[in-house]
Structure formats: C-alpha cells, structure tokens
C-alpha cells in the first residue's frame, strides 16, 4: 500500500497533514537542529503582533494532570522583526509557513494582515482569536460570534492569503462562532486553543501561575478538541479544519482526521519530544498503510459514527 501523506488545506498543498501548532514551535528556527523544517506539514508560528510584546511574568508554566497550564502572554518581537528575521529564515529553510496573527482590535488585525500580505514564503495566516492569556476577556474575540466575525472580515479585507481562524472551546455554541467566521471570510478553522484553567499550590496557597489563570493544553484536553472538530465538521461540511489539542502520537492524529479534520497540529507534544511533528507524521503513514488507506483525506469517510 503506497500512502500519499500530502493534503490540500485551503488551496495550499501540505507535505503531510501534521503541522507544528502555534506557540509550541517558537518561530521555527529554534527547531532547525531537531527536524527538517521543509519536511513538516507546516509551521504555525508563535503569534505575532504589530508591536513587540514582553509577555507575562514567571512562573509562566505549571504541569497538571496529563497536561500543562501556560500563561506566556504572547511574547513576540513584533511583526517587523518577524518579517526581517524569522519569516525569512523559515522561507529559506523551505518550510510551509503559517503566520499566527494576534491583535487587540479588528483594526490591529487588519493592519497586521496588510503588513504580511505578499510576504514571500507565507502560505497561510492563522487568526488567533482565542488566546486566553490576554489582559481582558474582550480580547478573546472567539467567545462572541459577532466580534470574531469582525476580526476575520478585517483580515479578509487586508489580504488574499488563505486564512484559518483559531477558535476556543470555552463557549456554549462553538458552531455559531465557526459559522460566523466562515461567513466573514475565513477559509478554514483551527480547533481548539488552550482551555482557560487554573491551579493552586496548596503549600504556598498561591496560584501556580503568576498570571493566576492560564491555558490548559496537552493530552488532558484531547477529548474536548476531538468533540469540537466532530461537532463543527458535522455542522459545516466542506470547511477545512486543523485539529489541535493533545496530539502526541499518530493514533491521536488519526482520531482528529477520522472525525473530519483535514490536518492536525502538534502543540505540547513538541515540548515533550522535539521531533514529535515528524514522528506523528511517520506513524500516521504506517497507520494508513496498515488500514489500507491511501490518503489522509480518505479517513473521514471511513469513520463509523454509529456505535
């Protein structure tokens, strides 16, 4: 059985359906010694803002059962430094680059998208509407369909680059948000971001994160993420979805693809194993071959929804 791992994501051909998730692969260059960046499905960069951001104080990270909390606070060098350094490096390395964008208003997102429009080497943009580590909950645009759609429309107006909208599961009606952003011009969706969480050190009686709350990631959230992909894929057939949340093995990736994801992104998995993105793709190839499936795109049709 020959397997062709490549997939089409919003009109972009990816070498494999396994990407490095935003915030979990730095700006890519940190990983050049560990993996061949050109061999990955893609690199979603750490979120970039118009101006540099310093991020939150430490401790920024706490391990929790089967996962971790983080409150990094979107530390990044700003879009100018990103374009001059990181983006150029990634493009030269032959990576398929997905730039993650973050802003405090639709207008900021629009300016950011305009600045990146036409940058050589940029394959897609991912609009980060759902980082929980922001000063105000109002910046988590994906908690409100109208606010999310407004951001997506601003980005759509500024760039023709294929666009993913990254949403949060911390909502009552995810399908409503998904529908609003695709109606506003998003070509695809990334599901899900970290879940807002909190942990307390009972010895010191303090929160374990300096920011008090943070985003929960890792295998602990995978069932939530799989459920979200399933729900949205059912409601919005034909909308490409990048599934993310606790993918550390090929079997985890297959779960997402079976319920309707076009691709997956490995996040916390890269913290555990710097070669996780590659190894998940290699394992997926073996999984597909063992099941007599020639392409990852065939998996959703093979899912047996009825127990």
């Amino acid at each position: 059985m020959t397997v062709d791992l490549s997939v089409d994501l919003c009109g972009v051909r990816l070498r494999t359906p396994v990407l490095a998730a935003s915030g979990c692969f730095g700006f890519g260059r940190e990983m050049a010694g560990w993996v061949d960046l050109a061999a990955l499905g893609g690199v979603v960069t750490k979120s970039v803002s118009l101006e540099p951001r310093r991020g939150r104080p430490t401790p920024r990270m706490a391990e929790t059962p089967s996962g971790m909390l983080n409150a990094i606070g979107l530390q990044n060098p700003g879009v100018e430094a990103f374009c001059a350094g990181d983006l150029e490096f990634l493009a030269d390395a032959g990576a398929t680059v997905v730039a993650s964008l973050v802003g405090r208003s639709p207008e900021e997102f629009g300016r950011l998208a305009a600045r990146l429009d036409g940058e050589p080497g940029l394959a897609l943009v991912e609009v980060n509407l759902s980082c929980p580590n922001v000063e105000h909950r109002g910046e988590v645009f994906a908690t409100d369909p109208a606010a999310a759609a407004e951001v997506v429309a601003a980005v759509r107006q500024a760039t023709g680059t294929p666009m993913l909208a990254k949403l949060t599961a911390d909502v009552t009606d995810l399908v409503a948000v998904a529908r609003a952003v695709t109606d506003a011009g998003a070509d695809g969706l990334t599901l899900i971001n970290t879940l807002l969480g909190m942990a307390v050190d009972t010895r010191t009686r303090r929160p374990r994160l300096a920011a008090v709350t943070g985003g929960l990631s890792g295998p602990a959230i995978r069932p939530v993420a799989v459920r979200c992909v399933w729900q949205v894929a059912q409601a919005l057939p034909g909308v490409p979805i990048v599934g993310t949340g606790g993918v550390v093995s090929a079997e985890d990736a297959a779960e997402f693809l079976l319920v309707g994801a076009t691709a997956v992104a490995v996040g916390t998995g890269s913290f555990i194993n710097p070669r996780a993105v590659v190894e998940v793709a290699d394992g997926l190839e073996r999984y597909l071959a063992a099941h007599g499936v020639g392409s990852p795109a065939e998996l959703p049709a093979l899912f047996k929804a009825e127990r």
């Binding site: 979990c24 940190e30 750490k46 990270m61 391990e63 550390v248 913290f271």
Partner: protein, 271 residues
C-alpha cells in the same frame, strides 16, 4: 555542538545524602557536555505527568570515545522525580542534551570561588574538575537548610582548596547564609571569579555581593521549563542592563548568566 536525544540506559542510581544521583549511559551527550549545561529528562512513559524535567549535569564520565555517562542529582519533590527515584539499572530513559550555555572558564589561571545552595551545588563539581585542569584555584562555599540537605560535602572538600559550610539551622558549619561569609571569603581567597548555583534568592544575593566587590560572577539559574529547546517561552528571565529589560529564555541564553545582567528586582518576590 547541537544537542541530541539519546535513549539512555541507567547505569546506577544511588543516594547522596538526602538526594538521589542517577548515572545514565549517554555517549553523545557526555562527549560534548560542558559544566553548567543541563539535560532534559523524560521521567517515564506515564502521560499523567507528561513533561521532561531539567537537571544540571553533576558529573561526566568519558573514559574513551563512544563510551560515556552523565550523572544528575535530584530531590524527590513530585511525581516525576519519584518516578526517576524508582529507576533501576538497565532501565531506559529518554534524555535531551547537552542543553544551554555553559559556565565560561577564566581566560588564565584565576582563583575561583564556587557558591552552591542545596542540590544546586550539583553542577559545581563538574565545573571544579574543569577549573582544576585549567590550573585555577577552587574554593567552595556551600549552604543548605540543614546538614542533611548539603550535597556531597566530602566531594567538595576533595575537589576544592577549601570548603566553607553554612546551614540555616546551624546543624553543620556556620549558622546563616552563604552570602554572609562571601565578602570575607573573597578577601581571604583572593578569588577573581565567582560561580554560583542554587535558589534564586541566593543567586540574587551572591550577584549583589559580587558586584559590590567588583568580582565577575556567573550564576546558573533554575527556572520552570517545559521544552528545554527554546520553543515554549516558559523559562524566561528579565535581562538588563538596558531598560526596559527583555525576557530571555534561560534554556537557550542560560542557564548560566552574568549575574549583573539579571534584573533581580523584577523577579517575582513570591519565589
């Protein structure tokens, strides 16, 4: 050399006072490891505590090319270190290393004062060995909460020209903090270089004493860390002297820093 991932056989696990020492067969890591660098260890396949744990390299054995081992020292404080403490010879552990920037040795033979707190003293033994091959005089000052929390004082005695001990409770050496004695020790040993590793408040105090005495000081920090490879941005420290300070990743730019560059006042007072 860029770091590698090695599946390491456990050679030996032993108790060192209140701590555990684990020796791992790691030829490629051992070949290139330098004092101050760390390894990032996956404590097991149990995903309920999924992350690696960083440990500074305590000792390196490299009898010949292709054969080498690294030793780490740890305190059992949680699920990960508990799992490590239960490893037995021939078990296999997944290790990344050597990671981070090492201590920089003096350009010429210089008296060096090595300041360690608790099991934070671990990398200073490896450093002392290297400094001695460079014909530097090495003096140790080590502190801990109590006598039982000192790490291998006899080894420090063996490697150093002198050993000074302090404990918080006076159960060994002088009662008090290592930094209480530093000005005197600097004057007495004539040290031209300080190296320190231990809890952050100790490193802050050592850096202040060093700056006041005009002696260069390198400190190895221990920060909460997820990846160890520069991608998670958890292990940052505010670095000056430029204002505003910038958040530097201690896994890539450290764990060894010039003590004068760290903006100690900005660090969380809670720690």
């Amino acid at each position: 050399m860029s770091p590698v991932r090695e599946l390491c056989e456990v050679l030996e696990r032993r108790r060192v006072g209140a701590y555990q020492a684990l020796t791992l067969v790691a030829p490629r890591i051992a070949e290139h490891a330098r004092p101050g660098q760390f390894v990032h260890v996956l404590a097991g396949q149990d995903r309920s505590f999924p992350l690696r744990r960083p440990f500074s390299i305590h000792r390196v054995e490299r009898p010949r090319a292709g054969l080498g081992a690294v030793e780490i020292v740890f305190d059992v404080v949680g699920a990960g270190t508990l799992a490590l403490s239960r490893l037995r010879p021939h078990d296999v552990v997944d290790v990344l290393g050597p990671l981070g920037r090492p201590f920089t040795p003096p350009g010429a033979p210089t008296g060096c004062l090595l300041v360690g707190g608790g099991y934070g003293t671990a990398p200073l033994f490896f450093l002392a060995t290297e400094l001695r091959t460079r014909r530097c005089r090495v003096d140790f000052v080590v502190g801990a909460a109590s006598a039982g929390r000192l790490l291998d004082a006899m080894e420090a005695k063996r490697l150093g020209h002198s050993l000074t001990v302090t404990t918080d409770d006076g159960s060994a050496g002088r009662r008090g903090l290592v930094t209480d004695l530093l000005p005197d020790l600097l004057a007495r040993t004539g040290a031209g270089q300080l190296y320190a590793c231990g809890p952050m408040p100790m490193l802050a105090a050592v850096s202040r004493v060093a700056a006041a005495a005009g002696v260069p000081c390198q400190v190895a920090v221990e920060e909460q860390m997820a990846c160890g490879t520069g991608i998670c941005f958890s292990c940052v420290l505010p670095l000056g002297p430029e204002e505003p300070t910038r958040m530097a990743r201690s896994c890539l730019e450290g764990p060894v820093f010039d003590g004068t560059t760290i903006a100690w006042a900005e660090l969380e007072p809670s720690r």
